[in-house]
Subunit: 151 residues, 2 copies
């Protein structure tokens, strides 16, 4: 082999090194989370949309696409799937008839609540194995990651 095999902490000294490690870690965890989803449950994207609606109330499809960093057609599909399952409802935008407003149905609200206890179960279990300090780190990191993905 031509390269050394430095450990993670050595590799994260530089921004580029941190970027590389973070990129790989995020990709791998995303795969893992996707695979972990219980069968009849929501896709990662669907869950994220429900979550966003629970947090922000009514949103337009465009705003949701923007928020979740997907293209509008992808969001159309996600919303259609959620609507078919009766979890969200579309309403015409009062001021601009090109737009729509998407909001949770009562069933959607219930599901989001249930998900707090059920769908994130795998990750929740993993988190329980961490020390309080590690969880605190993740709390701070979650906010930073959110900012990164928006910028």
């Amino acid at each position: 082999m031509l390269m050394k095999h430095p450990n993670v902490s050595q590799q994260t000294r530089t921004d580029a090194g941190l970027a590389a490690v973070l990129r790989v870690a995020v990709g791998r965890l995303a795969r893992r989370l996707r695979a972990q989803r219980p069968d009849a449950s929501l896709s990662l994207g669907q869950g994220a949309v429900l979550f966003a609606l629970a947090r922000h109330g009514q949103l337009t499809p465009g705003a949701l696409a923007d928020h979740e960093k997907v293209q509008p057609p992808s969001m159309t599909r996600i919303i259609a799937a959620l609507e078919e399952r009766g979890l969200v409802r579309r309403m015409k935008h009062p001021d601009d008839r090109r737009q729509q407003l998407v909001e949770l149905t009562e069933e959607g609200v219930q599901l989001v609540r249930a998900d707090q206890r059920r769908r994130e179960a795998w990750l929740t279990q993993r988190l329980r194995e961490l020390t309080p300090e590690e969880k605190a780190t993740l709390r701070k990191a979650a906010e930073i990651l959110e900012r990164l993905s928006q910028s």
Copy 2:
């Protein structure tokens, strides 16, 4: 709306709340990273494999699949793509002829190095905008995330 719209810090008080936020943040950032990849470059999975080989030297396809949390057939495809581009080379395992060893070619080594400067450019740039404290948090978080995805 039937739910309150608590902010992130409120939602991460509990393990389940942290899990929900983390799940969404990781999914979104993974999407963003995937989209950010320059056209002629490697896929996220291919990059991760090259990265793993750079770090660990020779590995079997099975070990790589395990490491990256994909099923063996997926790894077969990733390796085939990398081999086709001349970035990795397969060798027979000296002791067990069922197994193979995969290692970087010189070209693969060059590409991994170049990626440190080029492929993670977007994320590196974002990281530069963070405070040293935030970067320290991400360094610690990266290690935790890596552990989570392995467990």
